[in-house]
Symmetry: C2
Subunit: 319 residues, 2 copies
């Protein structure tokens, strides 16, 4: 019996989004559940099964699913395990691929969310036709998916591509969720931008639209809105963020000489506010052989779609 569909599941810290996808990358139907609703992983998988089965019935794809691909934090492609899921409510390690596969009776492959996004971008987005690129996801943290010669880099153990944890400040760096200090993601994630806002507002004395918001509630979106309204401090927060990210991208270039970086996530939609200081810092810090040669492109996929499509592409490889 022919099985011309795949399922993509993106497990985020808040929502789990899933969809049924055909071989052309069209999402037939998608839905979501709350990741944190069940403290027991079995209950969570039960709900996922119930909801996904509904989607399959609606789309007449029951028994036509070739495989399920899952993108999840710290998910290991090689072992099928979530081995250290800092942002998830269940004890780790979790043999996720095996559990989901047994529940559905369908082969399952998993990888981390940034890798899934990279596969999605390569298959359907801004990285179509590129064999060497680096996907940078700017969300709650900073993730990355590295593609070299058309293949995702998993490394020796399946965990390669944690560029959000390159240390960009050796002294007095910000404390990171990983326990170390100075990681890229403490500066260039959405939460990093909010931290920068708090720091700038404390040090500086000028008026700012951001001072109308309780300091602990400021989000990167607030900073974006203020900057777009002409707020000077907000603009400087983006300059600071873009400069650190640009310096980092110049360093990443010497590793794998990518044709492009693809930026994904809310911050990647900040336009020139972020891209201008980013490009300036990147070119200023670029080794001469790569100066003005490496593209920085925003993702071309809708945020939810990229993750689901990327994960679903993995579904074709599941066995």
């Amino acid at each position: 019996m022919s099985k011309p569909y795949v399922v993509g599941i993106d497990i985020g810290g808040t929502n789990t989004v899933f969809g049924i996808v055909d071989a052309r990358g069209s999402v037939l139907a998608s839905s979501s559940i709350k990741t944190r609703k069940h403290s027991n992983i079995n209950d969570y998988i039960d709900e996922l099964h119930t909801e996904l089965t509904k989607l399959m019935e609606t789309t007449d794809t029951v028994d036509k699913i070739h495989g399920i691909g899952i993108g999840a934090p710290n998910a290991n492609f090689f072992t099928g395990m979530i081995e250290d899921g800092v942002n998830l409510p269940w004890p780790t390690p979790i043999p996720l691929a095996e559990m989901v596969s047994q529940k559905f009776g369908i082969p399952v492959a998993i990888t981390n969310d940034a890798n899934a996004a990279a596969i999605g971008e390569m298959t359907y987005g801004a990285a179509r036709g590129l064999k060497d690129f680096i996907m940078i996801t700017l969300g709650t943290g900073v993730g990355s998916g590295i593609v070299i010669n058309g293949q995702l880099v998993y490394g020796h153990d399946g965990f390669a591509g944690e560029l959000g944890h390159v240390i960009v400040k050796r002294s007095n760096g910000r404390l990171c969720g990983c326990g170390r200090t100075g990681c890229l993601e403490t500066y260039c994630s959405a939460t990093g931008v909010a931290r920068t806002a708090r720091e700038f507002l404390e040090i500086r004395t000028e008026p700012s639209l951001l001072r109308n918001i309780p300091v602990d509630e400021i989000t990167s979106k607030d900073v974006y809105d203020a900057a777009m309204a002409g707020d000077q401090i907000a603009k400087e927060i983006f300059e600071y963020t873009g400069e650190i990210l640009g310096e980092a991208l110049a360093d990443f270039t010497v590793f794998s000489a990518p044709e492009a970086f693809i930026l994904f996530g809310g911050l990647a939609k900040s336009g020139d506010l972020l891209m201008k200081p980013l490009r300036n810092a990147m070119e200023k810090n670029m080794l001469s052989i790569w100066k003005n040669k490496v593209k920085v492109l925003p993702s071309e996929l809708k945020e939810a779609d990229a993750a689901v499509l990327g994960a679903s592409a993995l579904g074709w490889e599941a066995k």
Copy 2:
């Protein structure tokens, strides 16, 4: 007619070493010429041809050479060109693969010296059996050859793996030959160690064996000898060097999750003087999932052999 031999040529800033190698990796014979003797590249290739032909005659391998592999600074595997040879006496770009191939009537493949060393190490040295490792060459500069899933990383343009030019000091970094400041190789190469010695001796007032040497003539070997003789400043120079390199290796790990780093070159033979501070700094800065998991191994090949063997291994791929 069977052609069971390859030639490996390693073009260094000072010497050009070459050898004839069989399929088992035995060097039948090797020799060298001075790289800088001829300011005209054609004269250089003529001498190389004369000397290599002598070797072939001695070893009865004329007309039995399958291919020639060359390792040279900034040599591009894809184009066969030396595109920006800062350390070589000839104007660039040099279509080296084509020139040597025409002179000898034998297919030629080229890559940079660090990549050649990585191939040599993978084929005959400490990286045998490893599919994911990073070769770090500590010589006049710092070079690297990155192997992922058993394949050398060339990147989009053939120049990937310039880890010596990752910026490790964002402010007040040392001026690098590349024109930027703070590059890893300004600290962790043999010349970087000598620069550290000059800096330390200027700032510090304690006696040191190194003060017996004219400050501009101090080499990394002098620092090694002094440290082995118990000199405190010399030991601290190695601690400083090892710490910076260890921090850098921890950062490199997040990129490709290698099973091991292989250190190659004079400094790599410094034993615990370098390795102890290096390992301490590496583990201290390592993301927890890789703590105490990534090996740091010294090269198992003789310095000249590694380059010639690595280059020769490329010779099998030449066409």
